[in-house]
Structure formats: C-alpha cells, structure tokens
Symmetry: C2
Subunit: 383 residues, 2 copies
C-alpha cells in the first residue's frame, strides 16, 4: 500500500494542521468574550495601510458583515491584496469602534492564495451591477449579491422538498433523456453520440430511437402516481432535475403559449383556464363549459414575472384519448399512456411551478439569469 500512503500524505498537505482555535467570521463577530489564539480564514475585502496600523476586512462567506483585522504595518506584504485568501492568527478583542463588536488583533497573516488584482474583475469597495457580474460566471459567487441569491436558492430548494416529504410525497427523479415529445411542441434538443453525429446517413441510434432532452417530467410523474392511491398527485417540476434544467433554455423562450399567457395577464395574479386547443398537449381535458375549441388548464400568473405555475385537467376517458392519439398518429408511441387508464386508473392531477420565476418573484430579481448558477440560453453556454 505504498501508493495509498503517498496519497494520504498528499491529502494531509491539503489541510492545515490544527493550531489555534479556528473561528468562522460570523462566530468571531458574535463572540461575547475576548479570546487568545484564534485563527480566521477568509478573503480580503479591503486593505487600509496607515503609518501606525494596518487594517484589513476579511470575509469567509459566513456573514454579510466582514471582520476587522488590526495589525502592525510590519505584517504587510506585497501579495496581501484585495481578493487574496488569507489565514490570520491572533487575539479576538472588543473593538473600540461602535460599528462592530469584536476585532482581530493579528499576530501572523498568511496569504494562502494570492490574487492578481490588476486582472481580477471584482474591485475593492465597488458595488458592481448584476449585468457586470454576469460576465464572469466563474467568479460571480464571490460577489455579495450573487452569493446571497445562491444561498436563498439552496434554502428554497430544501424547504420545498421538506414540505413535500412532510406531506407524504415520494420524490421521483424523472429522466432527462426521453423518447417522448411530451408537450407536442416539437422544439426539443436531440441527443446523439459523436459517432452518430458524423454518420448522418443510415443512423443507428444509441438508444435505438431518436432521443431528446425532455422539457417536462409530468408524464413520468403521472406513471409514478400509481405508487400510492392517495399520494396520486403529480409533483410536476418538483423533481429537482425538472426545475433544474428547464431554465437552461427557458430564459428567452417566447412560445405561442407564453404569449397567450402574457396577453391574458392583468395587474393581479389571475387564473387562466381556457387554452386554445392547438397549444396544449393531447392529454388535456376538453373544456366542456368554457368557450369552444379550448382545453381545461389552470395557470397562476404573476404580473412582471410571467407564468409562475400551471396545472392541467387530464382527460381520463379511454375512448376519447384513443381517438385523439389516433388522429395525431401517436397511438403506438403512447400505448403506455393508454395502459395507465386501462389498469385501475384513479383521479389525479398536478401542477408545475417555475422555480426560477418563483425566486425572481420573492427576491425582486429582474433577470432570470441571476437566480441560476450556470444559465444556458441561445448563443451562450459558458463554463
């Protein structure tokens, strides 16, 4: 196991050896008592060098507020700049300034990772607009606003999952690759191996059939609704992969469907229940009470952010569905969908929530790209 030993030695080099008590910035700021021999790690947010004293502000992401470090000017070095990663060891003392509770009197300052400030796009004490930060997808989580948005996104994800789990739902990972064209939109991304891509004539597909990136997990959730009678409610787009990838190309999508929604959207959230027949997929129920040639659907619209969530009333009558599928030439492809209604079907329904639009709505963020860790849209697939 010589190799293993070598690996462990390398591993050990990655971590710092324990010395003084390590505190996070939030813990240091909230400490009630002074403390000897603490160490704090973080990125330098500001450096102010005076004749008698060197001031630093460091932040490790645990708090929006930074910790003030007071040091002797002799500790200053060339690579102790804004943006560099440092480890400061010293004494935590009550701060004489009103603005903060505690400050760190540095004994040693170790620059863990220097920062080339001349080319670093984030600048000291500058409030960069979101449009500017968006240009640097690999660095934007170091920006306060983006960091906060990503944390809230994480918390919101966890809360939504907890809600469903606490209410007895089963979390299903719906597939990303599908051979269905669920919405009937016909505007899907096709998936091919590099080999297939080259041999454009007489293809043999990897999956035997043409495969696509799905735009919805709703048919798959409808299948899985059979796991439990009274949990037979679809959790559309709640399966994380659905609310994860949809925005990847949803950002600048202006489909007929969306235009229709926008047109019918007033000043307050409204429900739109009549959809033009041609814009909705085969499984939707005919709207018997409403205007002719419409299907039944429910959409909650929120002004400014477009559609927040939508649900549909599914057609359950087998003969009706059979004839509709036949007209569309889809009987073979959707035999499984007919089967679901043939073998002990139960009433069920669901709704879909646009997770990113929800985040925009609660946070007041104008551009959907700013609430997505790595947005993808036409002409852009950065990182």
């Amino acid at each position: 196991m010589l190799g293993a030993r070598g690996g462990w030695r390398a591993l050990r080099r990655c971590s710092s050896l324990p010395r003084a008590v390590r505190l996070r910035v939030r813990e240091a700021l909230g400490a009630r008592e002074p403390a000897e021999a603490v160490r704090v790690q973080g990125w330098v947010r500001s450096v102010r060098s005076q004749k008698e004293v060197l001031f630093l502000h460091i932040n490790d992401g645990s708090s929006l507020e930074s910790l003030q470090v007071v040091a002797d000017p002799s500790l200053e070095k060339r690579d102790l700049t804004f943006g560099s990663a440092v480890e400061v060891q010293g004494k935590l003392v009550k701060s004489p300034h009103k603005m903060q509770n505690m400050e760190l009197q540095a004994e040693t300052i170790h620059v863990v990772g220097p920062c080339d400030i001349w080319s670093f796009p984030l600048k000291m004490r500058e409030r960069h607009p979101l449009e500017y930060v968006r240009q640097f997808p690999h660095l934007r989580c170091r920006n306060n606003t983006l960091g906060a948005l990503l944390r809230i996104r994480s918390e919101a994800t966890a809360s939504i999952h907890s809600f469903f789990q606490d209410n007895g739902y089963v979390h299903i990972h719906t597939p990303i690759i599908t051979s269905n064209d669920c919405e009937g939109a016909g505007e899907l991304f096709q998936i091919e191996t590099s080999r297939e891509e080259k041999e454009s004539v007489e293809k043999s597909h990897f999956f035997n059939v043409p495969a696509f990136l799905t735009v919805s997990g709703q048919l798959h959730l409808e299948v899985m609704a059979g796991i439990s009678y009274s949990e037979a409610v679809e959790i559309l787009k709640q399966a994380p992969q659905t609310f994860t990838f949809k925005p990847e190309w949803g950002c600048d999508l202006q489909t007929e469907h969306e235009k229709y929604l926008v047109k019918h959207c007033g000043e307050v959230p409204v429900f739109v229940v009549n959809y033009p027949y041609d814009l909705k997929p085969f499984y939707m129920r005919d709207n018997e009470d409403g205007p002719q040639h419409t299907v039944a659907a429910v959409d909650l619209l929120v002004p400014g952010v477009g559609e927040l969530c939508g649900g549909s009333l599914r057609e359950e009558r087998l003969p009706f569905l059979e004839s509709r599928l036949q007209r569309l030439g889809l009987t073979d492809a959707y035999q499984w969908y007919l089967d679901l209604r043939k073998f002990g079907s139960v009433p069920h329904g669901g709704f879909g929530m646009g997770f990113e639009r929800y985040l925009q709505y609660i946070l007041g963020v104008d551009n959907i790209k700013d609430v997505i860790p790595f947005p993808r849209f036409s002409h852009s697939c950065l990182l």
Copy 2:
C-alpha cells in the same frame, strides 16, 4: 370569468365530495377502536368470492399489508377485479381473525377505475421476478418490491440532502448542458436542435459552440466553492441532477477507468490512490510519492457493486496547470479554471458518490436498473 367558472366546475368533478371519514389503509389497520362510516380507497389485491361472503384485500400504498374487506356477495360486480381501483364505504370493526387487527365491513363498493385483467401484466398473488417487472416501466411502481425501492430511494435522497444542509453546505444545481468535456473522455452525448441536425454542413450551433450532456458537475462545483471559505468543499454528484442523470447511461459503461478499478478491487472495500496518468483528467495532482506516471485519487471500492465513490486531489500550482493545459491544447477553453487559481484560491477537495450504487449496496439489489425510476441505457429509452 365564465371560463374560469367552467374550469372550477371541471376541477370539482375530479375530486370526491366529502362523505364518510376517509382513512388510509395504514390508518385503518392501526385503528384501536371500531368506527362507523369510514371510506377507504385503494387497488384490489385479491378477490375471493364465497357463497355467503365476498372477501377483498385492498391496498393504497400506505402499508405493505393490505386491508381485508368483508362484503355481502350482492356487492360483487363484473368490474370488481384484481388491479381495479375502488372506494369502499362501511364500518371498521375488530377482525375475528388472528392475522389482522381490523377489517372493513363494506356497505358500498364503487369501482373508480376498472382493470382489464386479461392484459394486465401483474397477476394476483404472484411474486413476479424483478426481470419480469422491468419489462413494464409504466406499471412497475404498482409492484410491492419496486414501490418499496422507490420509497427508499426518496428517503435516501432526502437524508443525504438533510445531512449536507445541516452541515452548512450550499446546494448548487449544476448544469446538464455543458461546453466542457470535464473528464476528457470524449465520449459525450452531443445536443442539437432539430434544425441543426438537418443542416449537417456549415452549422450554426444554438449555443454558438458544440454543447454536450455533462458527465460530472465537479468543475462547476469547484467554481461555486468560492461562495464560502470553509464550505469550500465540493459536493460532487450531490447536486441532484448529477446523481440523477449519470445512471442514465452509466449502467453498462465499461470504460478503461472502470476496468482498472475492477481489476484492483479485492474482497473488502479498498482505497485505490494511484491512477494511470492517461485515464485521469488534466486537473489531477501528480502523485509524487507513488509510482511514476500516476496521478493522485481516492476511490472507495465495494466488491460486487463496483466503485461507490471517488475523490481527487487537485493540482493547485498555476504554472503546472498552465503547462498541462497548453500541452492538451485547452488553454483557451479552460482559462476560467486557471482564473480560479489566480484570484485568491483556497485549498479544497471533494468526492463523488455513485447514488445508485449506494442504493444497490444497502439494499442488495443486483441490477442497477431496478433502483432507477426510468433507466436509460444503450438500445433502450423506454417512456
């Protein structure tokens, strides 16, 4: 709002009007006292018609055990068969049989969804092997074993997420579409719009660059590690979309990498830390203490189920990475990766867990397809 009213009327038709107290099968089985006027919904698991009495067993997915229903033979009807969905109303009474606590004395039995038993592939009182059930991806969640596996999968997902959330990690949704070839394997699925697919010459890509289905979120998590100094640990494959989709084509993958692992796998879990240089991506640290031409990595192998999780020790030295990328002709594509090391980099590491392999391991399931809701593999993309 005539349309809306029509929609609500349709919605109301979907749900049953409240009558007797609705109990889940689990609640009925666990009841301490008899009760008048209860109703239970579920699928019929068995029908036994005797001269004097009709016995049903119904199950709604809330318990592995079914509830016995005792009824007058006059309540039997043609479509009251195995597999049908029913609502039974009646009295909950102490059962005279030792095997069960409570039973339901039916007053009415309503067949909500009949089942065509002649073509229904699941048969009454039969223990279908997993290989058989696998042929019916749209019905297999109605099978006890598959239903249980999916529930455990859901609980395991929630527990893993809770663990990371409780320990201060930020959950990042890494993208599914990427322009990177992270593992350097060159065996990615390419993504194209239908339009691109047709115009095989002189393409203009939707994303401007060729785009692929990613095989790993690790580089993206490395970017996001900058959100917090002490949370600067990558949660490889913990972002649900990574552990969601990877199995979609990982099932029968037998790469050089996997073969290497299998070869070095003994009778007990072992750590393999020396990888052949050519099999590992550019960012891995050279294994200075180990055999030559190897890179440092840690893999936890479990006999029988292959690799469970693996981590890597990242090369942090900028000049070293620069020269390696230059040799591979990747300097432009990975300038952002160099940037991460140029602007206040901190020591960080991570590991990846094969979520499906973990499920196989704890559940003793031989075939990975049985722990995935909708498995995708070569020659198969069902539903």
